[in-house]
Symmetry: C2
Subunit: 129 residues, 2 copies
DNA sequence: CAGGATCCCATAAGATACTG
DNA sequence: CAGTATCTTATGGGATCCTG
């Protein structure tokens, strides 16, 4: 799996995080990757707890870095569609890895809690709400 | 590659980033993954431009989350060795993905620069310094 | 050597209200 | 609908110096 990759120099990791680090960018890209093109409002609801200000800000940066496209439609009121680019898609491996680890981690935590406090844990939050 | 994974709910990505997000944690884990156990000073040099204060801070959080171990040796002066745990190792997929994307991205950027400004680009910075 | 103490700052991120 | 404008806050991150 690791093939011939040698990560003795961690600089590339730093580079990646500079582009798509932070709390929201990966989540936004994952959403566009899974659901296809979305309008601003749809995206906001899909991502969850993000304010328009922050969403707008993140989208601009992602667009600057060619990760997403922004298309304006002259309807009334106007609509705007965001979509992931081919280049953005190259992050799929990263995004899926982050996602899968998060899922497994949740299960791990749940089992720990279940072992420590048998009554709680299950009712705390459903596996995938 | 994506298998049966469905990331319509991006929450797990958020979870992962809460644990190992930020500028340094992934880099630290990658370093320990590649080079094995390291002492504080070695780690600082390996990671690069991190101050002791921040490194200490990050290490504590990683230890709290069972990602790394901390072993104190009663030499004089004392030495401390940090190592990645089995659980930390489960992040290898994520770390390698981040790393590989960073490497590819660098090459992409380089080629762009080379195309736009033929003279520059190459001399700007060596591929992997 | 492995950090802690202190002070400091830039910026990520959020709340709220408003507009073409 | 798709954002902007303002204001505010939290904190991630850093510089510098110090110590067991």
């Amino acid at each position: 799996m690791t093939r011939n990759v040698c990560l003795r120099n961690p600089q590339p990791i730093h580079d990646t995080l500079e582009l798509v680090g932070g709390k929201w960018k990966m989540v936004i890209l994952a959403t566009l990757l899974e659901r296809g093109d979305l309008r601003f409002g749809e995206l906001q609801r899909a991502v969850g707890d993000i304010t328009p200000r922050i969403l707008s800000h993140e989208l601009k940066q992602l667009e600057e870095n060619k990760m997403i496209t922004r298309r304006v439609y002259d309807t009334s009121p106007i609509t705007v569609e965001y979509g992931i680019t081919a280049y953005g898609r190259t992050l799929e491996t990263v995004i899926v890895a982050l996602f899968e680890w998060g899922v497994t981690h949740r299960q791990t935590i749940m089992h720990e809690n279940a072992a420590e406090t048998p009554e709680a844990g299950v009712k705390a939050s459903s596996p995938f709400d």
